[in-house]
């Protein structure tokens, strides 16, 4: 079984770290992930930019684009995609295609730029 591990923390607090604190944390985390990578068990790792950089596409007839992160609490996180796009407009287009392909019900696609990315070593 593959597991996704989602990281939650206070953006304010993490955002207030100095570069040294941030770098040191990344080094400590890399000790854990390097070990997994060496065993061929690490999938893609992504560190997202702050929610201020987020855009949300809401499912529905119009596929409304909203600035900011997904803020509802009624829905749950069901999965995610990582796509390479030249601009935010391209990413919004991808999200809209997904929304069209899966148009039943409510829901949203939150688009977050990825700051740090590591492709991982686990076989497909």
């Amino acid at each position: 079984m593959r597991y996704a591990i989602l990281c939650y923390d206070s953006e304010d607090v993490v955002g207030a770290w100095s570069k040294q604190e941030d770098d040191a944390t990344m080094v400590r985390l890399a000790v854990v992930t390097n070990d997994l990578a060496a065993q061929g068990r690490l999938g893609p790792v992504a560190r997202l930019l702050p929610t201020t950089a987020a855009t949300t596409v809401r499912k529905g007839r119009e596929n409304l684009v909203i600035d900011g992160p997904f803020a509802e609490t009624k829905e749950q996180l069901l999965g995610f995609y990582i796509v390479d796009c030249a601009t935010l407009d391209e990413a919004i287009e991808v999200a809209r295609s997904l929304a069209r392909a899966n148009s039943q019900g409510v829901g949203s696609y939150e688009i977050r730029p990825v700051g740090h990315f590591r492709p991982g070593t686990a076989p497909a």
């Binding site: 607090v13 955002g15 207030a16």
Partner: protein, 416 residues
């Protein structure tokens, strides 16, 4: 991160929201600050024992408010009862925990808190000092250090600024859309000034003043979270991030200025650049251009160029032309001339800045740029005159030293 460090970070990040709400309740800055202070003391006592609350800000508002009401009641036994108007909304004291998720309410609280620091009677440096004290919660000693003045002088400055805003009329009603937009623009301008106070510091002072830049970015992010759909706030945040990203490369160890073309681009902070680029990309989608977005777009073009010769000067020229229409100023034209010099040569750039001289005759950078164009044209004597004027007008020792470097080179070449 230790418990205490985590708690301090949480208190700092909850401060604008909690203090803003307490100010709305008590309508008096000193009372609100005392209430917040008391709540922080209790947090330091109980959070390590019970763990931090899920919503630090609402915890602080609840505890701070009750503590302040208790204090007023205690005083009330010795003094006549305060007027009802002094403490607003006492009746809904039971309901405040329920209010915690009302984001729009807090949005105006925080905006008000920032807005009162922007009182038009206060000079820019006092607005910034006040925002650092009230919104960011920096100590007077920390602020004094950032402004390179003594602690007593800064204490006095902040006290005077506070008296001034206490005497001013502040609207506590929920602002209408127009009022809100006005406040937002004023606060954005203050944050930009705030940033520049740190950014324009000379080499020797740059380290002491860097916290001003960090704090300005924090406030810009805060504003953006409150107003996520405002392209100019995205632009402002992007601009600050993209400029601050270059900080590690802007000065030599000796404090000497390093020009953009000569900066070691590997030292630029890639994380800040990535965030800045994402934000300007997001802002542009709105097709509602404004000065912050255009300036951020210019900074983005510099950030995207791997080497100075990769810079898209034609794009930069166009963006400066747009900025000239949005915000006409001789300084903008002067900056545009630098792009024009790269595109069409120093003679065209010199023609462009000629008419600016009467208005920029007191501006250090005008003569620095003029001297550089003249030098490129081989007009060495004219260049020397311009550089001499620049040195006479320099604001910091680093600026003067930078121009002197040009002059020394001129002299050396002259002897050879």
């Amino acid at each position: 991160m230790t418990d205490l460090a985590w708690i301090n970070a949480a208190l700092t990040s909850a401060r604008p929201q909690a203090l803003g709400a307490l100010l709305r309740y008590f309508r008096d800055l000193d009372t609100a600050e005392e209430a917040f202070q008391e709540a922080c003391l209790r947090a330091l006592k109980t959070w390590p024992r019970n763990g931090p609350p899920r919503e630090p800000a609402s915890w602080l508002i609840f505890v701070g408010r009750n503590a302040a009401i208790d204090a007023v009641r205690r005083r009330g036994r010795q003094e006549p009862l305060p007027e009802e108007a002094l403490i607003s909304d006492l009746d809904d004291a039971e309901a405040d925990m329920a209010e915690r998720l009302d984001g729009s309410h807090y949005r105006d609280d925080i905006l008000r808190l920032l807005f009162i620091c922007c009182h038009p009677d206060l000079p820019a440096t006092q607005q910034i000092a006040l925002a650092l004290r009230i919104v960011s919660g920096l100590s007077v000693a920390q602020i004094a250090r950032a402004f390179l003045v003594g602690e007593a002088a800064m204490e006095q400055r902040i006290t005077r600024a506070k008296q001034r805003i206490a005497a001013a009329e502040v609207a506590f009603d929920t602002p209408g859309a127009v009022e809100r937009a006005d406040r937002l623009a004023v606060v954005a301008a203050m944050i930009y000034l705030f940033f520049n106070e740190g950014y324009s510091a000379g080499g020797g002072q740059a380290a002491a003043r860097a916290p001003l830049c960090d704090e300005a970015i924090r406030l810009a992010r805060l504003l953006l979270r409150l107003f996520p759909g405002e392209p100019e706030i995205m632009g402002l945040t992007a601009l600050l991030l993209l400029q601050h990203a270059r900080a590690p490369a802007r000065f030599e160890a000796t404090g000497a200025i390093v020009l953009l073309d000569d900066q070691e681009r590997g030292l630029w902070n890639r994380k800040m650049i990535a965030e800045g680029l994402a934000l300007i990309d997001k802002a542009m989608r709105h097709r509602r251009r404004g000065p912050y977005q255009v300036q951020a777009a210019i900074a983005a073009l510099h950030a995207r160029a791997a080497r100075p010769e990769d810079t898209e000067w034609a794009e930069i020229d166009l963006l400066y032309a747009a900025l000239e229409t949005l915000q006409p100023s001789p300084v903008v034209t002067l900056n545009r001339a630098v792009a024009v010099a790269k595109l069409r040569g120093p003679a065209a750039a010199l023609d462009m800045i000629g008419p600016l001289e009467p208005r920029l005759s007191g501006y250090f950078n005008f003569f620095g740029v003029k001297g550089a164009f003249l030098l490129q044209l081989g007009r060495r004597d004219d260049a020397r005159i311009a550089f001499d004027r620049a040195i006479a007008l320099a604001n910091t020792a680093a600026e003067a030293a930078h121009i002197r470097l040009h002059l020394d080179r001129l002299m050396r070449d002259g002897e050879a």
